[in-house]
Every structure is written in C-alpha cells, then in structure tokens.
C-alpha cells in the first residue's frame, strides 16, 4: 500500500513540476520545427514512400521510421507529449483552482508574511485625512481605500486571479478537443457539376488512406459560376455555388456558398474550395437563320446546329475558350451530302462573319459561351470545433486577466514605532513595490530603511 502511494505521489509531483512543462514544450517546439522540413503524409496523400527511401541510408531510414517523421504530428511520441502536457496542465491548474475559490470568497484582511514593508514619516493625523493623503500620493482614487478598523486597506484586481487557471484550462481544452477532432473528424471533398447531386464524398482517414463516406442527406449543385475581373480571360474574382440540401428527395435547405462563406447543415460544413474545368459540359447559345427558319438555340459539343438549302449539315464540333486571342469561339463542321467535310470557327466577339460569307443561305452567330465547370467543395465534419473556440476564448480572456488585472493590496498600519505601509501583489510584487516606493520618494515622504 505504502509503495503504491509513493508511486502515485511521485507521478503526481512529476506532473506538477515545471521542469516537465519546459521539457514538453521544448520537445513539441523542436519536433514541430523538424516536421516542417519533411513532407507529411496527411498533407500529401500521394507521397511515394518507396521512392523517398532511396534518398536515405538504411539506418537513417529506420530512425525516421521509428519517429514516424513522415507523419510527425500524429506520431506516437508527439501524441504522447500532447497527452503529457494536458495532464501537466491539469495537475498545475486544478489544485490552484481550489485555492483560488477559497481566496476569492473574501477579501484579504491581514497582510501576508510575504508583503514588503515600507516605513513612512510625516503622516497627517486622523484616518480620514490619511486616506485622502495616501490616495493622492499614490495617484489612485480615494474611494479604493477603506478603513478596516486598524488602519487603511486597499485591494484591487482580485477578480483577475482566475486568469491563470483560465489560461491553462483553456489550453488543455484545446488539446483535448484537438485529439477528439483527430479521432472523430472527417474531411474530404465533393465534386459536383451544375445540376448534379451527390451523397458520397472522398475523405482521408486518419492513417492517410482515402475512403468514401456517405452523407445522411444529398447535396445538389443547382448552379455554379465564376465572377471574373474584366474580360473572359481575366483573373477570378469569386466563385459561387448555389447548393441545395435534399433529404429523401425533399428540398430542405438552399444556400449560396462562396469562398469564406460555407454552408453548415447537419453537423457537416461545405466550403467552396476550388473548381474544375469540365470541357464536356461547355455550352453556348447560337442565333441561327437557315432554311428551317430563325431561332436561338442552346447547344453542346456534337449537337447539330443548322442546315442550309444545299443540304449541308452544320454541327458543333468543339469550343475554344480563347481562339488565337480573339476570344471564345466554336468550331463548326460542315458535312456535305457527298461526304466532304470542312470546318470553320465562329467567334462570340465577332458576329456576322458567317452571314457575310454565305449571304442568304446561312447566318450563324454564337451569342454566349458558358464554359463547363464543376464545383469542388470541401466537406468537413468535426464535432470538436466549438470546444476549440471555447478553449481559445477562455485562454485569451485568461491572458488578458493575467497580464492586465493584477491582484495587489496595500495596508497602512500605525503604531508607536511609526507607520508602516505593507505592499503586496500576487505576481510582480517587486515591480509594484518599486513603483510605490518611487512615488513615495519623489513626493518627499521619506522612507526610513
């Protein structure tokens, strides 16, 4: 029993020690730095390890494998360090939490033994004048000082004390949530053409493989379009998907998704990440006048467009996004009844050329060209995310309290030997005492050492 207790005690002391913290932080820092110089499997799933192996000598390869350097951030030792750090954080903050609750309940009545003593002379008589005098001397509002029956008392910043615990617990919350993310989180991508719907997305699992996961609902891309700066060939300003969520075929939600503005539904998030060109989905509108009459049609590659009075068939062969610098164009094939084939290009920006070359028999103009795209959506499901935000907020608020609101106190006690000012601060007492002393000395109130 004794032995078990001493083991527990030793562990407890280990996890409470600052030396462990320093060791773990250094390990994590150095480890992370090393990890950035090697390609990491989760970020590059297609990494060819066999090929990499050739670059290293066998023992070095073995060493790299031992430390799982190519998936360093999920390696055994890195994860172990994170777990140890979390325990370390708890061991250091939870006991302090209990002390804190006790300390916060009531204000400090007596100066603690660690307070600094300063001797004062030339004080005015009477507590009330002294109160005003001391407040003015130190440049603090008089109402912050009160009489505690023996002398004067000043205490500020008591509610800054939870800061320390908040920082450390907040950080531990982030670490735990991060582990949960890694175990339960799934992210992958979904590629949809306009009009297409999907229920399955490709995700990378925790060991670097790709797996297909099924959504509990269907996502349909109603439309996808690019906004470009300036001309057709200009840089992309934004890309937008109009998405619909369908449950058993019923429309449940519809939303416009663009970069930086995701869609959240059913615990899943859909982000506009990128897009792909799908030339087979190119479509254009044509204004046609031929022997069948005048009309405006929409056509895709391979569609028949027109027929002239000689029986020549005009078909849409293919598109070009930018034909010789003249802009979007369509290649139209002429199929003669005798089997001859010719072709020509129709350009969106230069209408009327066909009509000019074949007056009276055919007028064919491309009025609008719409390149085919598919939207590439990132799909992510991570139940831990709100806890990350909570932990971060807790940590930042805690930091503001720790550095901004310091718990300090002053007591003025007078006796036959003279008056003593007790100066105390929870942290940074030396600096606070120096500040107070500086004000006393500069005001001419001598301090007897």
């Amino acid at each position: 029993m004794e032995r078990i207790w001493s083991i527990v005690d030793a562990n407890w002391r280990l996890f409470r020690s600052l030396k462990l913290t320093v060791f773990l932080l250094i390990t994590l820092a150095v480890g992370s730095a090393v990890g950035t110089f090697f390609p990491q499997l989760p970020q590059q799933p297609g990494l060819n390890l066999e090929q990499l192996q050739g670059h290293y000598s066998p023992w070095l390869w073995w060493l790299l494998g031992l430390f799982q350097v190519f998936d360093l951030f999920h390696s055994w030792w890195f994860s172990l360090a994170m777990v140890a750090l979390t325990l370390n954080l708890w061991a250091c903050s939870l006991p302090r939490l209990l002390d804190l609750i006790r300390d916060l309940r009531r204000p400090m009545s007596e100066p603690p033994a660690s307070a600094k003593l300063l001797k004062l002379v030339d004080l005015p008589a009477g507590l009330e004048p002294r109160r005003l005098w001391l407040a003015k001397l130190l440049g603090l509002p008089a109402r912050w000082f009160d009489q505690d029956g023996i002398g004067l008392r000043f205490e500020r910043g008591r509610w800054g004390r939870p800061g320390f615990v908040m920082v450390h617990l907040g950080l531990s919350m982030i670490l735990v949530a991060g582990a949960w993310s890694q175990l339960a989180g799934r992210d992958g991508s979904l590629v949809l053409e306009p009009g297409q719907q999907g229920e399955v997305f490709l995700a990378s699992s925790s060991d670097g493989r790709m797996e297909s996961l099924r959504l509990p609902f269907a996502v349909r891309c109603k439309d996808f379009y690019l906004e470009k700066y300036g001309a057709q060939a200009g840089s992309v300003r934004d890309y937008v998907s109009e998405l619909e969520i369908l449950e058993q075929g019923r429309l449940v939600s519809s939303r416009r998704v663009e970069v930086n503005q995701p869609l959240a539904f059913g615990g899943y998030h859909f982000y506009q990440t990128a897009f792909q060109r799908v030339p087979s989905r190119d479509v254009a509108w044509f204004q046609i006048q031929d022997r069948k009459g005048t009309r405006r049609i929409q056509a895709e590659t391979g569609d028949s467009l027109a027929e002239d009075e000689r029986g020549v068939q005009y078909k849409l062969e293919k598109f070009s996004e930018d034909f010789k610098g003249y802009g979007p164009a369509a290649k139209v094939s002429e199929d003669y009844p005798d089997g001859r084939k010719r072709s020509f290009w129709v350009m969106e920006r230069y209408p009327g050329l066909v009509a000019a070359q074949r007056p009276g028999s055919l007028s064919l103009d491309m009025t609008r060209y719409k390149p085919g795209y598919a939207t590439v959506l990132s799909v992510a499901r991570d139940p831990a995310t709100p806890w990350i935000w909570l932990g971060s907020t807790l940590m930042i608020m805690g930091l503001v309290l720790v550095f901004g609101l310091r718990h300090k106190a002053l007591w003025l006690r007078s006796g036959p030997e003279g008056s003593t000012l007790y100066v105390w601060a929870h942290r940074g007492q030396g600096a606070f005492a120096d500040q107070v002393r500086e004000k006393l000395v500069s005001s001419g109130v001598e301090e007897q050492t």
Partner: protein, 529 residues
C-alpha cells in the same frame, strides 16, 4: 504615389539613424532630439504612404468590381469595396507594413516609457525597418492586383494586424534583449563569436550554402538550340502563350514573310496533318528549363559577375573570421577596424558584381533568362520574384552580414553605446513587458488564423508550415514567461530566449515563404506572412 511617400519614410529613417550614430560619436544631446524628430516624421510619412496604398488598392478593387458587375457601385457598398483591400496582401506590402508596425510600436513604447534613454529602441527598429523596406523594394510584384477569393474576408484584417503588432512587440523584446546583453557585460569575445557564427549561418542558409559561393549559382539552365518541352508550362519565352506541340514550344502568334517573328523565334509552317489549312507560327528556339540546376550554371553565362560575387562572398567570410578573432582575442578597446575594411571591400565587390552582371546579361542576349529565367517564379504563372532566386538571396545575405557588421560596431563603440542606454533592470523589465503584450497578441493571431482557416479551407489547423512555425514561436515565448517567473531565469538567459524567439518569428514570416519548408497553403501569393 504611395511609393514616393514610402521612399520618403525610408530616407527619413536613414537620416534618423545617422543622427543617432552622430549622437553616439559626439555625445551632443541636440543630435538625439534631431534623431527623434526625424524618426517621428518618417513614421508619419510611412503611415501616410500606407494609407495612400490602401486607398489606391481600393480604387483598383472598385474598378474591377464595376467591370465585373457591369454597373457603377454606389453608397455603402462602394465604401466597403474601397476599404476591402488593406495594404498587406502581398510580399511587398507585408514587408512595408511590418516595417511600419516595428517603428510605430517602438516609437510609441519609447515615448510611453518616459526617459531620455529609450530613444535608442526607436533607432534600432528604424534600422530594421529600412532593411525590410529595402527587401520590399526587391520584390518584382509590387503592383496592386484585385484580391483572390480566399483573401476577400474581414478576417484578413484582424489576423494580419494582430500578427504584425505581435511581431513588433517581439522585436522590441529582442532589441531590449540585445541591449541588455550589451549593457550587462557579456564579454566582447562572446559577442564576436556569437555574431560571427550567426552571420555565417545566415549567409550560408539564406544564400543557399557553399555551392553559391563556389560559383554554381544556377537556378536555371540553358538548353541547346532547339527548345524542347514536355508540357506548355515548360515553355518560358518572351512571346506567351505557348503550346507544347510535338515537344516544341510554339507560340500562338502567327507569322509570314511580311510579319516576321521576334527574336529567338523562327517562323515555321505547321502542318495539321489532315490536309486542312496550314498556318505559320513562331516556334521558340531556346527554352529555359527551370527545374534543372546542374546543367549549365550561371558562372558560364555571367562569368564576370559570378567571379566578383564569389569574391564578395569570400571577402565577407574573411571579414567574419577577422571580427570574431578580433573580439575573442584582442583588447576590449579594439574597434575591429580590419574587419570593417573587409566588410566595405566585400560590399564594393558585390555592387560591382551586380552592375557587371546586369551589363553582361544585357549584352549576352539573355532575354529568356531575364523574362522568365534568372529570376524564375516559383509558382507557375505568377510574377512574384522567387524568394529562392539569386538576387533575393544575395540581398538576404547582405542582411546577414549587416547584422554582423552592426554588432561589431556596437562592440567597437561599446563604451559610448553603454552610456546612452538605460539601466539593466529597466531593460529586463522592458523585455518582460513587451513579451507580456506580444504573447496575448500572438495567441490571438493563431486563434484568428484558425478561425479564418475554418471558414476558408474547412479545417482550423492543418500543420501547414506557416501555422506550425507560428506555434513554435508561441511556444518559445510561453517558455520565456515560464522560466522567467518561476525558475528565476532573469536577466541574461531571459534576454537570450527573447532573441531566439524573434529569430523564430523572422523564420515564420520570411523563411516559410522562401520555400525552405516546401509549399503549403500559405505560399500561393497571399499576405506575405
């Protein structure tokens, strides 16, 4: 317009530093007042320059939006678009903004700290600011282009501003740390050795290692007379766009006997093989293959320049060795004169080399090298100056050596410098306070970065090199706070941790972008953070 105002700021900081040096040399207080005044003027110009840049970028965004939407934008939407493009969205702007935040934070801090001796912090930061702005001027892509979709977010503002404020605080801490070590009595020999080692490390790492000094300076190679390609992205000639047809780079420009091709192209008839119409197009004769570093190094293309560059490198190594020997072995009052001579000689070699190199390049008909070659973009199709390329590395090497030179000057003029500095305890407190302000800001930077990443990319943390290194910096400062408050590692050791922390911050800011850690989500030309 903004560029001219920023140039004013650059000059002002330079003058302020000169005035400061004069103060140190002559001990006349009027120099200090002048230095501080010029410094504040410089900061005002810098702020104005950044404001102008912001406005100019807003105008570009407005024009682009109106063109995309097809109508004029009015009212609050117009205002929103005008404000949407802050001045820190590419490497050039980031460096200028970083410089501004350094000077602003240190000048404001030195004012708040109330004392004649804090001005020196402002001066040191102005030197850093000038270095940053000098680096900024070396970037090729200084133009304002409309923002890519991922950067069109208000998180851009919050994340980047907190980051730069944090970095500025950490710079203040590092400067305080260095001054602490100077004041505290760290022996000259230590300084000399540490400074020399640091300088050599910086020169070697940033300039690419020993091969650079030995003359194998190629980032590109020139291949034969017939340009061959595997895909159109291999073609980098002066007449884009190119198709890679049958292994040759063919421009989309057509040609004839009346309309000949420009230089380094021949007009060839392309047979489409189906009896259809043939067309004549310009075929590129020479091609630059970016990936191959071994075939034909720069020393064969720019012989004179390379020789001089190698010479500069070697002379600077001599300077470093001399400095470290001087301060390790010699008497304290030695000022490292010989080392300074070597430093100046090396600088002269460098300047001559760059000038000669430019002339050689012009004369050698190396258009393809300059257009897409010697300073090759890392990201295909981008016009960013590659941070891996020769001039950037030389500039950074120069920075490394200037740091060494500066340290040596401090050592040489140590007595006078010490007299101008505040007390040791005060400096130690300054370092602590700076970290106490910077650390929450850094935490916020990482958190806002995570939030933004969550909205843009779908995950709040991906162990991207930039993210990882900012975490490393955060850990270093967390270590600073811990070992300081509790172990009692005050003073000298704390100062060293603060300095190491800032080195990590610099790596986070520049090193990751230089591609030293491979590519990640942050290197697509976004804010050069």
């Amino acid at each position: 317009m903004s560029a001219s105002v920023l140039a004013l700021a650059f000059v002002a900081y330079l003058l302020a530093t000169l005035a400061a040096l004069l103060l140190v040399a002559s001990s006349r207080d009027s120099w200090r007042k002048l230095a501080v005044a010029i410094g504040w003027l410089g900061l005002a110009a810098h702020t104005l320059g950044l404001g102008l840049r912001w406005f100019e970028a807003g105008l570009v965004e407005l024009a682009a939006a109106e063109r995309a939407l097809g109508h004029v934008v009015e009212g609050s939407e117009r205002l929103a678009i005008l404000l949407s493009h802050p001045p820190f969205t590419n490497m050039y702007e980031s460096l200028v903004f970083f410089a501004w935040s350094m000077v602003a934070v240190t000048l404001v801090a030195s004012r708040l700290l109330k004392g004649k001796r804090y001005w020196v912090l402002g001066m040191v930061s102005m030197v850093f600011a000038d270095l940053c702005m000098g680096l900024a001027s070396l970037t090729l892509d200084q133009a304002i282009a409309p923002l890519v979709p991922a950067l069109q977010s208000w998180w851009l503002f919050i994340h980047v501003i907190t980051a730069f404020l944090a970095y500025a605080c950490f710079l203040l801490a590092a400067v305080g740390g260095v001054l602490y070590l100077v004041r505290d009595g760290l022996p000259n020999g230590h300084f000399g050795r540490v400074g020399a080692a640091l300088g050599i490390l910086v020169v070697m790492a940033l300039a690419g290692g020993v091969p650079y000094v030995s003359g194998n300076l190629a980032s590109v190679a020139l291949l034969g007379d017939e340009g061959v390609c595997r895909s159109s992205s291999d073609c980098r000639g002066p007449l884009p766009p190119y198709d890679c047809l049958a292994g040759h780079c063919v421009s989309k420009e057509s040609c004839s006997s009346e309309v000949p091709c420009p230089g380094r192209h021949t007009c060839r008839v392309l047979d489409d093989g189906r009896g259809g119409r043939n067309e004549s197009r310009c075929v590129y004769q020479r091609m630059v293959e970016v990936s191959d570093m071994q075939r034909r190094p720069l020393r064969l293309i720019l012989p004179g320049a390379t020789f001089l560059l190698a010479g500069a490198g070697l002379i600077w190594l001599l300077a470093l060795v001399t400095f470290s020997l001087t301060f390790s072995l010699a008497r304290p009052q030695s000022k490292g004169f010989l080392g300074l001579v070597f430093l100046a000689a090396g600088a002269l070699f460098l300047v001559t080399a760059l000038g000669l190199g430019w002339r050689e390049a012009a004369g050698a008909d190396l258009g393809p090298l300059i257009a897409g070659g010697v300073w090759p973009p890392d990201v295909e199709g981008s016009t960013h100056l590659s941070l891996r390329s020769a001039p950037y590395r030389f500039a950074l090497a120069l920075v490394g050596l200037l740091v060494v030179g500066g340290l040596s000057l401090i050592i040489g003029l140590r007595k006078k410098v010490e007299g101008a500095l505040p007390d040791v305890t005060v400096l130690d407190a300054l370092v602590l306070k700076s970290v106490q302000v910077g650390f929450p800001l850094m935490t916020m930077t990482i958190v806002t970065g995570a939030v933004w990443a969550h909205y843009a990319w779908g995950r709040y943390w991906g162990w991207d090199p930039k993210e990882t290194w900012s975490l490393v910096a955060w850990i270093v400062y967390a270590l600073y706070l811990h070992v300081r408050s509790i172990h009692g590692w005050r003073g000298r050791k704390a100062a060293l941790v603060a300095i190491v922390g800032f080195a990590v911050v610099i790596f986070t800011f520049l090193g990751v972008n230089m591609g030293l850690t491979g590519t990640g989500l942050h290197t697509y030309g976004g804010p050069g953070m």
